[in-house]
Amino acid sequence: MGQGMIQGGWGYVIAVYGISWGVMLGYAVMLLAQARESALARALPEASAASPASSHKGRAP
């Protein structure tokens, strides 16, 4: 029986911080690589993304 307070437990803290940082950094690196690739490959015109004429329904006049 303890004293009603948690002693130690740094292992859990390290695991939580480690997993969280690992996943977020990994996800960020993956997205950066994909975004860079799409930028290099297509020279994507920025304006087209927001342009009203770019409806994916393709019903432009």
Partner: protein, 241 residues
């Protein structure tokens, strides 16, 4: 060639990570240990901002889904997808973090408490949205399905938030300034801003990736449902096949 959205997304993510380093340094080494939980209480600075972030980016996805259905523009479709994915990454982390925090404090990795149950439903529901998106080839139908599924899945967001008020739970109620001592509040708030900026940065990058995919798909000639040629204002030359 880099683009504005690439630079903005990368910069916001970098600022978010940098702020998170500051917040976590303060949380791990400067803030006092919690009176009952001791050092385990430091998980607060990761778990709570992740929870706020997850719910917030799902709210963003919900708004983008409305925009997508209203306007039919692919920009909104890509934004919906981006924020659903960022929210789901955070929700997945949330469940792992919570489980690792629950073991030393509550005495169990998992229990079917209302907050935990509704959070698991959240991850599953938005996981289905992302899966659904991969299963539909036709762009307009896919955009509609994504948006409708996002709006339906979003119902669980307020339920997760209010679960600790509506039902008996093991999970503690919502914390506030009154229930968190000020030396702990500072790293928590910095971490919350950091996760917000990081999430926005990642969403912008993900939005960009999705948009590029949608444009490439429309440019591909062998699609069964190729749309009419688009007026890509500012586009020079034909898109690559």
């Amino acid at each position: 060639m880099t683009s504005r959205s690439y630079v903005a997304g990368a910069a916001l993510s970098a600022i978010g990570f940098a702020l998170l380093v500051v917040a976590h340094y303060l949380g791990l080494f400067v803030a006092p240990r919690e009176a009952m939980m001791g050092d385990v209480g430091r998980i607060l600075y990761v778990h709570v901002p992740t929870a706020w972030g997850a719910l917030l980016f799902y709210l963003g996805a919900f708004v983008a889904a409305i925009g997508s259905l209203w306007s039919g523009r692919r920009g909104w479709d890509a934004a919906t997808t981006a924020m659903v994915e960022v929210g789901t990454v955070m929700t997945f982390l949330l469940l792992v973090q919570g489980s690792l925090w629950a073991r030393p404090t509550w005495g169990t990795y998992w229990t079917w408490d209302p907050r935990l149950t509704t959070s698991a439903v959240l991850a599953a529901a938005f996981g289905v949205v992302l899966l659904l998106r991969r299963l539909i080839d036709q762009p307009a139908r896919r955009a509609t399905a994504t948006a409708v599924a996002t709006i339906v899945a979003f119902v669980d967001v307020p339920i997760v938030y209010f679960s600790v008020k509506w039902w008996n739970s093991l999970h503690q109620p919502v914390s506030s300034r009154q229930t968190i001592d000020s030396p702990m509040m500072q790293p928590l708030l910095i971490a919350a801003v950091a996760v917000l900026l990081l999430g926005i940065g990642l969403s912008v990058l993900r939005w960009r990736v999705e948009l590029a995919r949608l444009l490439a798909e429309e440019a591909a000639p062998d699609l069964p449902d190729a749309p009419a040629p688009l007026d890509l204002s500012g586009a020079s030359g034909a898109p690559r096949g």
